[in-house]
Symmetry: C2
DNA sequence: TCAAAAGTGTTCAAGCTACACCCATGA
DNA sequence: TCATGGGTGTAGCTTGAACACTTTTGA
């Protein structure tokens, strides 16, 4: 049984994959070695399969480039301008993923022509992918101010100064060290590991990890990490 | 030229249409007189046409039931579980619309089997439409706390007590009259019309209208109408 | 003249901002 | 021993929550 009237349409999934290297917020792009627009940069994407849920497809596409599973992903808008894809009318559902950049399979990414760019140095992308990245950044900035999604970009153990650098990268602005620390600790989301960061140049900072119980239960509560 | 490999998929648009009658937040549903699930309640929806942008399609579908144009609409998530539609694999992109309930064409709505329900009295809907309404309500509650979308549900001229009733309906809770008034006026988004609400039972309240300049320019700023 | 709704004022506590000061580390 | 980075404390201001009082209107 099928719907008779309307026409079927190509459905694509495109992924904005973000990482943080300790200094800059970065995005993983691929140089296309296939038409159309071969040789240009684009988001990692793919087509939805006949028997595949949207979230499964997004996870598959992320896995193809990074080797990662169980990553924080969030669905953004569908982009559906009739002329957005020159080959054929295609509606694309955009996702963003926040990964721990040190955990991904960089060998695999290289094979797939993947390359990391600082957000500030991002090249122009094909189709409407620039607008997708814009809306992903907007959503991350919006959500990270109110909910603890930033932690998804950090390793399991991290210091508060590292977390602050992340927030400063996301919002491209400076934050007061002392107030930031107090605000973060007041959420009670962090547990001190007792260890210190041995990599640090001068004074070694305390390593914390997430209180995963509280993290899960309070994820949708409001924390106001940043005042917008 | 076409993409060879992947399969084309049915793309539907479903609209959560909200209104406010002065006391309750309401949603406009239709009783289906067609298969599948004829006789049951559902959101107003339709299929995306070959040469139609997503937002145009959503506007068309809203217009078919309400006669309205230029309404505040926002795209929500796409729903894509493989078994969500028993007829055929269909991905549905959900929108919500906020309308001034007194402006819509109620005759047209009746012809199309439309009926308004208080949110609290909403019947169970077909397919995954209940989940769509849930996510629309979630988004409205989220966004109305921070941005002035609530005004879209009110007539051009309204009183602050009316606005308060709207917020109380959206959040299903009581707010302090005095603090609410101060908070709203402090945004400077309202202009006094000098007129008073002649319908009021006892003391007549001042009618305000939106400062449309400020409304547009500050729409994406943060106002914290409600503390979540 | 009384009840219900609308408008304005005040107080107290909590939170945020903007600072100063001290400690630990490695060159 | 000195520069750099990390941790804690505090004063002053702003904001929000919880209140009381007054005014207007129709019954």
């Amino acid at each position: 049984m099928q719907y008779p009237q309307a026409s079927r349409i190509m459905l694509a999934i495109d992924c904005c994959i973000f990482g943080f290297d300790g200094d800059d917020l970065k995005i993983l792009l691929i140089k296309r070695n296939f038409e159309p627009e071969a040789g240009k940069w684009s988001l990692m994407g793919g087509f939805l399969k006949e028997n595949e849920d949207l979230e499964i497809a997004a996870g598959r596409i992320l896995h193809e480039l990074t080797g990662l599973n169980n990553v924080y992903m969030e669905q953004l808008k569908a982009h559906g301008k009739t002329d957005r894809d020159p080959v054929e009318r295609t509606v694309s559902i955009c996702f963003f993923a926040l990964i721990n950049i040190h955990e991904h399979d960089s060998e695999l990414a290289r094979k797939k022509n993947g390359q990391w760019f600082n957000i500030a140095d991002k090249p122009n992308l094909i189709f409407d992918h620039d607008a997708m990245v814009e809306s992903a950044l907007h959503q991350i900035r919006y959500k990270a101010a109110l909910h603890p999604i930033g932690f998804e970009l950090l390793p399991e153990k991290f210091t508060i100064p590292q977390l602050q650098k992340l927030y400063e990268a996301i919002y491209d602005s400076k934050l007061d060290r002392r107030n930031f620390s107090r605000k973060i600790l007041s959420t009670k989301l962090l547990i001190s590991t007792g260890e210190k960061n041995e990599n640090a140049a001068t004074n070694k900072a305390m390593l914390y990890k997430l209180d995963s119980e509280k993290y899960k239960s309070q994820f949708n509560a409001f924390h106001y990490f940043i005042n917008l």
